[in-house]
């Protein structure tokens, strides 16, 4: 008896899983179970995945569906991290609750963190595949995966969001990658809900979709700055000739007030609708009315460009890159990719990357700087990239970090200290040492006045 247990926390993730099934990524199984987990800050207030239009049909593909939030209530799926000693008890509890029989194969997203990691720890004998939930999987693994889990991970499945780019995620454990067919993904998404009327009834290529995120809620920007970012998207879209704009807030974002955005559009002679719909925005991308997709660093920008060949534009990546702390913040790789691959809304003609540099090398260099201990093998590539293109890539790196890692672009060594490090024995100062100190003092004084 073989049971495959799929875990999803977003409609996008679920669509990717079903596309992978259609694509033949999984061997036959007696049962395919789906566990849904809502990981929003307040799951009780979030839209359930199965409330999203069209998701019901996707769920039909599984033998049974289970609610993880209900299983761990009142705990939050992201913070409930059971003690190791309790794991055997929990294995029995979940085996009963999910009615598991036979060999188990887990297919989880974000394996390094709860709730995926929790399930992998509880089911200590299960095979593990993991799948990417967006651009972050091109970057380094955020936190170390415990060995007892890591040794069981067989594959990382991912959409080809950036054709040709290889994920760094889990490469430290030699996990194989497998691309999920774009065609399969598009077919699955086409079966989800219809786009809103502005898009369904618009003239070909007449509508610009603006992608909301939740940078304010994450503390990356202030809420006012985030609103300013959206206003910049509105102005840029109108300047690019669009009269119909649709703003799609992120499903996980706190509610936005629509008024300032639609007021700004109206002042510029355009119409803006805020469609706060649990549908995944990708389900709109097949509509002929869609003319452009504009965002900051949403994964959907790359889906639009790579899977739907839509025109895309970015706003504000440089500012967000500057703000993002610490350097190893996992949003850095999505930011880097979008900044390097998508045209700036204000100056679309500008080339993003210097000639001769490919994105793979840049992503590896940034990944190395984010997690140098985890990826020592990427150092030589980081050195080469920085040596050849350093000045042109300044916004992707931090000078202080390059210095700390002793990489090209480091700050020059500080002027040698005025007093020699090895303190000579008292009364044994040679004439040469005295003259060296004097000459340094003279140099220092001279440079200060220069």
């Amino acid at each position: 008896m073989k049971t495959q247990l799929f875990v999803a926390s977003t409609a996008f993730g679920l669509a990717s899983l079903v596309a992978a099934l259609d694509d033949g990524a999984f061997e036959p199984a007696d049962r395919r179970l789906l566990v849904l987990s809502i990981n929003a800050s307040v799951p009780e207030a979030a839209i359930a995945i199965d409330e999203v239009a069209g998701v019901g049909a996707l769920i039909q593909r599984f033998s049974a569906v289970h609610d993880y939030n209900a299983a761990v209530a009142p705990q939050h799926p992201s913070t409930w991290k059971p003690r190791t000693v309790d794991l055997p008890l929990l294995e029995r509890y979940l085996t009963q609750r999910l009615e598991l029989v036979g060999d188990l194969h887990l297919i989880v997203e974000s394996v390094w963190t709860a709730p995926s990691l929790t399930l992998c720890r509880i089911f200590a004998d299960a095979r593990i595949d993991t799948y990417a939930d967006g651009l972050m999987s091109y970057g380094p693994t955020r936190t170390a995966v415990p060995t007892l889990v890591a040794v069981r991970i067989e594959r990382l499945l991912h959409l080809d969001l950036v054709p040709g780019l290889t994920p760094v995620l889990l490469s430290e454990h030699g996990v194989a990658t497998r691309v999920i067919s774009t065609e399969a993904f598009r077919r699955v998404v086409a079966g989800l809900g219809a786009p809103p009327s502005e898009i369904a009834h618009g003239r070909p290529s007449s509508v610009a979709v603006l992608l909301g995120q939740y940078l304010g809620a994450l503390g990356i920007l202030t809420c006012d700055e985030e609103e300013a970012l959206y206003l910049a998207m509105v102005r840029g879209a109108v300047a690019a000739g669009f009269k119909t704009l649709v703003f799609k807030p992120h499903v996980g974002a706190p509610p936005v007030l629509a008024q300032p955005l639609s007021d700004a559009a109206r002042a510029l002679g355009a119409d803006l609708a805020v469609v706060d719909d649990p549908a995944i925005v990708e389900s709109w991308f097949g509509a002929p009315a869609l003319g452009a997709v504009i965002g900051c660093f949403s994964t959907a920008l790359m889906t639009a460009a790579s899977c739907y060949q839509l025109r895309t534009a970015r706003v504000g990546t440089e500012m967000v890159m500057e703000r993002l702390k610490p350097f190893e913040n996992s949003n850095r790789i999505p930011l880097t990719i979008v900044d390097a691959r998508v045209a700036d809304l204000g100056s679309p003609a500008e080339a993003n990357l210097p000639p001769g540099l490919d994105l793979d090398a840049l992503v590896q260099a940034v990944s190395y700087c984010m997690q140098p201990e985890r990826y020592p093998g990427l150092r030589s590539s980081a050195e080469a990239v920085l040596a050849a293109h350093g000045p042109a890539l300044r916004r992707y790196f931090r000078r202080r970090l390059l210095t700390k890692l002793d990489l090209p672009g480091r700050m020059p060594p500080p002027t040698p200290s005025l007093v020699t490090r090895r303190r000579p024995a008292p009364g044994r100062v040679s004439r040469r040492q005295v003259s060296r100190v004097l000459s340094r003092l003279r140099q220092a004084a001279a440079s200060r006045w220069r």
Binding site: S41, V42, E44, A45, A46, A73, P74, Q75, H76, S78, T79, P254, P255, L257
Partner: protein, 329 residues
């Protein structure tokens, strides 16, 4: 199914949920979205905007459109949580009533279950456990009373003196109340108190309501650490705890079981005094001096003999902290 049908045919409102909001724009949408999953036939939501000055009302207007059974009530001036809840009680049409704070949230299906519980038990009030939330961290808080799910007399749940009982769990939203308590006036909150109003309210319910039960239904998620730092006005409001406990002591003294219940009231009084004295450094120096003086005067008003017994029964550290305040004023 049958209940749902009866409810539908008779348009009976089984439960009124009274939710006051005051300047909680950041949380109100989550509150209302969680209520959407707790809506049901015969459940009405009274959303009282207590004259918010931020965008709370706009959030309510947007979100209420998607919340079946909801009604927004705009209070003309900021009246405070007690008066807002009382206004909600006057607006409510339900056979049973409950409360929720505008920045908290509930589990899916909670209110239909809560209504079913009090309908089944048929008592004046049912108290529930709840979950406290700090960020993503959640802890279950239970009421120290048993047996559970069994109807008893609330006055029997006040004692013992030395441990936290049902009377020490004053959160109005952790419970559901029969309309009988509206009719006899017990459900209304004392509006003259700016803090601890729920303590007095809860004591009165325990002394005068006929019947109650405690159940382990954990559906309310109570956010901690949300309110901003204490302002001077809040300090001023905090002092009302003394007035609240003076009234509790008065009510307990007038009760037929006075000799049993008064020590409990006095002990809670002492615990509250110790709590506030423990936070003296949060107050302005003048306020702190005033607070200390008022505590001393408050303790002096208490009947001497039971007070002495209560103080002697505290742990040595707390006894030592209280003693200096007990010298004659």
């Amino acid at each position: 199914m049958t209940t749902a049908l009866v409810v539908y045919l008779l348009r009976v409102i089984r439960l009124s949920v009274i939710v006051p909001f005051h300047n909680v724009a950041d949380y109100a949408a989550q509150t209302l979205r969680s209520l959407r999953r707790s809506a049901g036939p015969g459940i009405e939501f009274l959303l009282l905007d207590d004259a918010s000055t931020d965008s709370t009302l706009a959030v309510l207007e947007t979100e209420a459109q998607r919340l079946p059974g909801s009604r927004i009530v705009r209070l003309p001036a900021n009246v405070g949580v007690s008066a807002a809840r009382n206004a909600g009680i006057d607006e409510a049409r339900g056979a049973h009533l409950t409360f929720l704070d505008g920045d908290d949230f509930v589990a899916a299906g909670y209110y239909p279950e809560l209504a079913a519980v009090i309908e089944r038990l048929g008592c004046d009030m049912v108290r529930t456990d709840h979950v406290q939330v700090r960020g993503h961290r959640r802890t279950v808080h239970r009421i120290g009373y048993g047996p559970r799910g069994v109807v008893g007399r609330p006055r029997d749940a006040i004692l013992p003196v030395g441990r936290a009982t049902s009377v020490d769990a004053p959160n109005a939203w952790a419970g559901v109340y029969s309309r009988r308590l509206v009719d006899n006036g017990l459900l209304y909150f004392p509006e003259h108190l700016r803090t601890c109003e729920d303590r007095l309210w809860n004591w009165r319910l325990h002394l005068r309501a006929e019947s109650f039960a405690v159940v382990g239904l954990i559906g309310v998620f109570y956010r901690r650490g949300v309110t901003t730092s204490l302002t001077q006005i809040t300090d001023e409001r905090q002092l009302d705890f003394l007035a609240a406990f003076d009234e509790i002591v008065r009510e307990a003294s007038a009760d037929r079981d006075c000799s049993l219940l008064l020590p409990k009231a006095i002990r809670s009084y002492c615990a509250m005094v110790l709590h506030h004295l423990g936070q003296l450094d949060r107050y302005q120096p003048a306020q702190a001096a005033r607070l200390t003086r008022l505590c001393r005067e408050g303790l002096a008003r208490l009947p001497a003999e039971p007070l002495q017994q209560v103080v002697d029964g505290l742990d040595p550290e707390r006894t030592a902290r209280l003693r200096p305040l007990l010298v004659a004023v």
